[in-house]
Subunit: 507 residues, 2 copies
């Protein structure tokens, strides 16, 4: 980042403080990564304490009144700078985070954080034993705390708005309700038309695929797609995630199911999408709050763009499928490209969000979004949540979970976070992914034929130039507007779904 540190000692001071906080947060992230990958069980108790300590120190350094004074002191200078200059963006973004951080008392943060840790461990058992009652009192307290949290940000239109704002800055219930209802209207008839047909045969994916070969394959695929192993690595975890400790060290994890080829493959590509975003951020933003993805929705747009729009496209498999066949000749030697392509894009009414196809996925998200709002508004009690959940699945997807483990207990979000603001990013990500991809292809139509040749750099470079490099200098709304020319809208996604699934299911 270009600086005028000599003339602006306050800016230098700000950056020094931010860099120190960033180092503490990076260390906390590594503690978390290690916990999920290699830590022996005996390390758990101390690790929880160590993580809490680092987070507490980072938080107290960030909310130090001296930080507020520095930011205030920089206001006159900021006003002389172009709005999107690096320095103005740094000050603006830091100020946004600072105000958010000081709004919530440290004591409350501590209480909530401890409650979340407890709730998570109760949930792990409750899900394994199908025992919603065990976790219910915890979830009730989570709901209370989520409401309290929102109330630290008075003046909201809807009580969920401040909670949504944490993950997707600038988003609100009123905007989301409109987007989601338009989307729902378009999707429901497509789902009906597809599921009226006889189900796609995806047995080819459910054979024995040895772990080692699957891992080897995922590494080969994501390397070719552009993931930089000099600045990253892939390990195995129970729940795949992306995490970074600097722009030079952006790691992903994956999960292998030896009886399902699609698990490791698509989770690797998904996390790689998150990883490409973080690897693509300008190196000179490192150590500042600008060096991260700009919102959960935009982050998810990149994982979904690479996983679905690219990774489940016919062109992609035209290139990669012969290699997959040579990895697994006995399993796939007699399966045609088209049969494989259909299998990985099978649309069905199902109960598990994580395994849902592109067409039904957003319906799963909307169920959660609506239930979150109802609970926050006081229109739904936690004790009635399982029934409401199942009822919505019956109505919206025509299927009912066999038990709460596959129903209301399936997602970790409410049990490790808050109620409110936890799910909208998935649908936002899907919508954005299509809108970004359409803009990319409009500008550079060769992207599509290049993918068929296993060349991903045209697309990758376009994304780096237009999205990744900026980190969070632009908000999601600013980015979408500047990159695609319009605000976020549903039609690129609907066009994408209509075209792809129209062909697949001959609608």
């Amino acid at each position: 980042m270009q600086t005028t540190e000599k003339t602006q000692p306050k800016l230098l001071k700000l950056k020094k403080r931010l860099s120190e906080i960033n180092d503490l947060e990076a260390a906390a992230s590594l503690l978390y990564w290690d916990q999920a990958t290699y830590m022996p069980p005996g390390g758990a108790a101390a690790r929880g304490r160590q993580l809490a300590t680092l987070q507490k120190i980072a938080h107290s350094k960030f909310t130090d009144p001296a930080m507020g004074e520095l930011l205030e002191g920089l206001r006159p200078y900021e006003e002389t700078l172009p709005y999107f200059s690096d320095e103005a963006s740094l000050i603006r973004c830091t100020r946004k985070n600072y105000h958010r951080a000081v709004q919530v008392p440290a004591e409350f943060m501590g209480e909530f954080s401890e409650h979340r840790t407890q709730t998570y461990s109760v949930w792990v058992k409750a899900r394994a034993t199908n025992d919603f009652a065990a976790v219910r009192p915890y979830l009730e307290k989570t709901l209370d705390l989520s409401r309290e949290m929102a109330d630290f940000f008075p003046g909201y239109e809807h009580i969920a708005d401040p909670l949504i704002d944490f993950a997707d800055y600038g988003m609100k219930v009123s905007i989301l309700r409109r987007l989601f209802s338009q989307l729902r209207e378009e999707l429901v008839p497509i789902v009906e038309a597809i599921t009226a047909q006889s189900p796609t045969d995806d047995n080819c994916l459910h054979q024995r695929y040895p772990e080692e070969q699957q891992l080897d394959l995922t590494l080969k695929v994501i390397k070719q797609m552009g993931y930089d192993f000099e600045r990253g690595r892939q390990d195995q975890t129970h729940h795949p995630f992306m995490i970074n400790f600097s722009t030079g060290d952006v790691r992903i994890t994956t999960r292998v199911d030896q009886d399902d080829l699609s698990q490791a493959l698509f989770s690797s590509i998904h996390e790689m999408g998150h990883g490409l975003y973080e690897q693509g951020i300008r190196r000179d933003l490192e150590g500042t709050p600008l060096a991260c993805g700009t919102s959960s929705g935009v982050h998810e747009s990149q994982s979904r763009l690479w996983e679905n729009i690219v990774g489940r496209s016919r062109g992609f498999w035209k290139f990669f499928y012969p290699q997959v066949q040579s990895y697994f000749p006995s399993q796939l030697g007699n399966v045609s490209l088209d049969a494989f392509y259909q299998a990985i894009n099978k649309v069905q009414r199902s109960v598990i969000r994580m395994d849902a196809d592109e067409v039904t996925y957003n319906l799963h998200v909307m169920i959660r979004f609506d239930l979150e709002l109802m609970m926050l508004e006081g229109r739904l009690q936690v004790r009635d949540l399982p029934e409401a959940w199942n009822e919505r699945y019956r109505e919206d997807l025509g299927v009912v979970p066999q038990n709460d483990s596959d129903g209301v207990l399936q997602d970790v979000h409410w049990y490790t976070g808050q109620i409110g603001g936890m799910f909208q990013c998935y649908t936002l990500g899907n919508l954005m992914s299509a809108q970004f991809f359409e803009a990319a292809v409009t500008e550079q139509p060769e992207i599509i034929p290049k993918i068929e040749q296993g060349n991903f750099s045209t697309l990758h470079n376009w994304l780096k130039d237009n999205i990744y490099q900026h980190g969070c200098k632009y908000t999601a709304a600013e980015l979408i507007k500047s990159v695609t020319g319009t605000a976020l809208r549903i039609d690129p996604f609907i066009r994408y779904i209509r075209q792809k699934y129209g062909q697949l299911y001959m609608l």
Copy 2:
């Protein structure tokens, strides 16, 4: 640890502060572990910064004047407690560390730390290219800084004493010189008698041993020896080490040479010895400065006890050798137990300390110890060090390194630490290992036959009860006296060497 926190709020405050500092140090250790094991190359720059930040914060929290006030305020309470009670020991040990930490200005620490980092990277290249001249100016500065460091602790008998004290509290040049010269007098004739014979054939160790099987074997061996994998793990690094993040998470690393069976095997057992010490510390000391080994020498005594006294004994291999043969039938099927036992205990005049046998090893250490002292005393210039090094090897070991890479550049210590206090712990460890083992076997003679049956728990329990559990509650001198009944002395080691090598070489 039992506490009287209610009546002693100052003690509670002290523990809270210490626990926070401990968490920061543990996080820094994990950053280091990751750097040495899994970090992609791109992470290096930021990692250096992150490590420095954590160390700086931990140091500034520990040297906070409030810490000194708390320690002073606890003095009257401490005087009411038994000297070796947990609480008195905690206060005493913290005070010792505190005075050491505040004695050195933070600015000097920062300068020295940065200089060490630079020197290390210059040394890596210099060793690879056999270019002592490249690293010479750095080493000259290290010598200056080492002297300055010592001068922060005025009143010493010898300028190296404060530096030795960091690693081996209570040790001094005057004591070490006496011990080392006695030891030397005993060892030289033994080395001469052995090396007058025709050299042992150790070709059986230098065959092709595939990495995967070697790693598998090391895991099996150290598991049987008592290393707890629920509270530890083994990974690969260039230079093996032990590191811990809590008493519940004590990790070791090893290095495999596919053309030398002894590398991974003995480095695993060596690091396991360090690991057993840390795993054996009382769990309720965790988070306090008492939860660590009491000195470098005592730590080394445990790695050497398990590696050499146990791991290179005939009884040990009577049990394990058939298993090793079944791992490597083509390499060792026709090699007898005795031939293998002789090979792993081959005594020879050599130039590399790390590969030296038990008999000559201490002669290597003494060369370094003497040269350190001469440099600190101003009797040897850094520019004359390579010549002095080679001359001492000629005199003491009858061999001369072919080049500086195998000579004065071979050990990392001076290039990443200071000059002074870096090597005595190895010989102290060897002496202590024999003294401790002799005490153990005198008390429980069944230890020896049990080892032959692959049962290590009698020895392990004795070490836990007598040494490990206490952490650093007792100083090295206190521990040796209380466990063995006398001060540190050379005769148990000499007895051990005479007996073992007398048999091996029929002296």
